[in-house]
Amino acid sequence: MSKPRLVVIGNGMAGVRTIEELLKIRPDHYRITIFGAEPHPNYNRILLSPVLAGEMSTQEIVLNELDWYRDNGIELHTGRQIVTIDRVARKVIADDGFAAEYDRLLIATGSTPFMLPVPGNDLPGVVGYRDLKDTDEMIDAARRYSHAVVIGGGLLGLEAANGLKLRGMDVTVVHLGAWLLERQLDERAGRMLQKSLEERGLKFLLEKQTEALIKGESGRVAAIRLQDGVQLAADLVVMAAGIRPNYALAEAAGIYCKRGIVVNDTMQTYDPKVYAVGECVSHRGIAYGLVAPLFEQAKVAANHLADYGIARYTGSVTSTKLKVTGIDLFSAGEYMGGQDAEEIVLNDPAGGVYKKLVIRDDKLIGSVLYGDTADGPWYFQLLKDRRDIHDIRDSLIFGQSLVGDVGHAGNSRAAGLAESAEVCGCNGVSKGTIIKGIKENGLFTLDEVKRHTKAASSCGSCAGLVEQILASTIGGAYTPASSDTKPVCACTELPHKLVRETIRDQHLTSKEAVFAFMEWKTPDGCEKCRPAVNYYLISTWPDEARDDPQSRFINERAHANIQKDGTFSVVPRMWGGLTTPAELRAIADAAEKYQVPTVKLTGGQRIDLLGIRKEDLPRIWADLNAAGMVSGHAYGKSIRTVKTCVGAEHCRFGTQMAMDMGIKLERMLFDMYAPHKVKLAVSGCPRNCAEAGIKDVGVIGVDSGYELYVGGNGGIKTEVAQFLCKVKHDEEVMAYSGAFLQLYREEGWYLERTCHFLARVGLDYVKRRVVADDPGRQALHARLLDSLKNARDPWQTSRTGDAVRQFVPLRVEA
């Protein structure tokens, strides 16, 4: 049987992106034909501004080379415009009479610039700003003429004006609105923007309407006349007063259109064989003009074209960044506020900083940032996640405190960085390298940037900075996925949240069942999803799911930490950081016996034996076991250590028995696995010598009992733990800490530390579950104890039987 035929009208970003998404999930389903009216392969329209500004070449913005079409068996017709869709015969006809039949049709005809209906709008020298041809015409005009007028002070208009100015023209922007970018900015930010653009030599005429374009002696446009009679010289007029969706072709074919081709949530038009995506579309009454929503639409359309039929497009929240080098501007959501909305504003005109946050019902619904956009991605994430901001409201405007974030020399503002500045301290990646990677490879997401440039791919502390660089390089194309919808990995479309919930709701107890039920795209997952799925299974169904060692990272499989040379490190547990002469003697003996090259004290009050060969692990464990010591789990997404001070046992200031409390907690949590590592500390008084303020659970003794703090972190980004509650007795410390950790174990996403979990769900939620709800807390604590009832020392159980095999090398038999 021959394959069904898919025809695409439109060889632009939306149409081709849909095909890319389709090829990803169902590569051989269709015979694909693409028609493009322009003579080029698919290029990155967003980067026309840098081309105009002379920062990039035309060749650099091509997204899909001709080879790509050929390698994927796609028949490409460039320079051929489709003029008729015959829905009865199911074929499309081009301007030269060429026809192609389809079984499915995808319309992605995009939009055209709106040409003001004024006399002279068709004169030579009057251009819209849409494609490479327009851009070339503008570059050419800049070479030969001196006066340019841009009509429209929106994103496109300002970028055009900036580019022409950089090419040496005298540029005036004529704008109908009362301030610039009135669809993206409030008045104050608009005025600040105007001031800094004026400092670069641009001129503005606001609240002015164009009356006519006047022909010069050469027949080319020579001037523009405004309604108030003012006349300006203009050898080039750029119309950037908005776009109009191209839907005439679809409408002529009888497909229902209303200011765009009307589609439902599956991107299907009123003709079920015809889909449409991109700027030509009207979805729920909205036609999007930014590229990020188009990509979301492309994904949904591809899913349905592949006959999967599960994706829905429900609209997009968009954010804006102006791609004018050196100007920091960010806006998102309902930035104007309005009825029952509240505003938080920070205004520092002298410092050139303005921030406005718009809030409704304790949720962030919009933001405008000018001058300092460091926190743009963070605000946008809060906005998309619809996170309750009640508990962080008082410091919200100051941003996601970057204090303590390490590895990039304290930098928090991408725009001001030199190209040579090191952004990723782990992998030594500079800002220039990141920008080059984004432009040359056509990258649109943080994950793509991580893969290609390695920036932010190790510790991730610079991810915010990399996002900013991405956002300022590709502007409106940048949109972070909401955390709730970001797929676990490339093996699935499903996010952590859904995978967790489905495992629970559908009672799935093996990875095979998970992959089958949720239709994984790979047969057995990858190194990212398998450990996550394994953790979800064993934490959700502790009595039924069997732990799969091959789905664990080597450290958890070998119960030791792999080092750069392939040797391992061994850390025996020292409950509460206490040890004995006998234990120390046994450790010293083992270190000598196995010729351990390095013996080191860890930050968590333990002793680390480094440089041990894998085959020696079972033997050294046996020796340590014999002296009464067990695994310290220094290698796992598990309980690591409970650090203590000497407490009231010895200290003259101590109010509580910190060592005893620490030992009790550590014994309770022994062998506990979690989404990520877990560290505790107990201090006997508020002097806090055990540094409980930066632990996942920090316990601080006071005269009347204990204060409990949660969600602290001393790592990549220092996070101070937040106060949870105060309790009186040791038993309560165990119950509350246990309940909090069980909540994290049940609802945290894999590789999410408690500080991230807390940032996502909010402290209020945790208090409700752990502090306010007595039966709920008891149940959480009981489930924790139940899942740990069979806890055993992995060093003991991995030394014998089949488990020991991995430590024994094979040899070639003679």
Partner: protein
Amino acid sequence: MSNWKRICQLDEIPRLGSRVVQGTKSGDIALFRTAADQVFALHDKCPHKSGPLSQGIVHGERVSCPLHGWNIRLDDGQAVAPDVGSCRSFAVSVRDGEVFLAV
């Protein structure tokens, strides 16, 4: 001509796991077993920073290096794009549940 050596039984390599073969003249060799019981052999050194591939997670016909997560194709030892590099591969054959390696 290759020199086939018997190494072990197939069952001694865990599915989606690996074993290390020592004492060959080519140094340590990692033997991998896929979910479909195919066995592959690669030099046990990642082309990136010499991480022991035998300690990585096996998925499909790839292994992820335990040190920095590079993905290496089991069949030809090539790094998966965008990473670039290659690692020597060795012929393996499985007969009657026994694994033989060409070294």
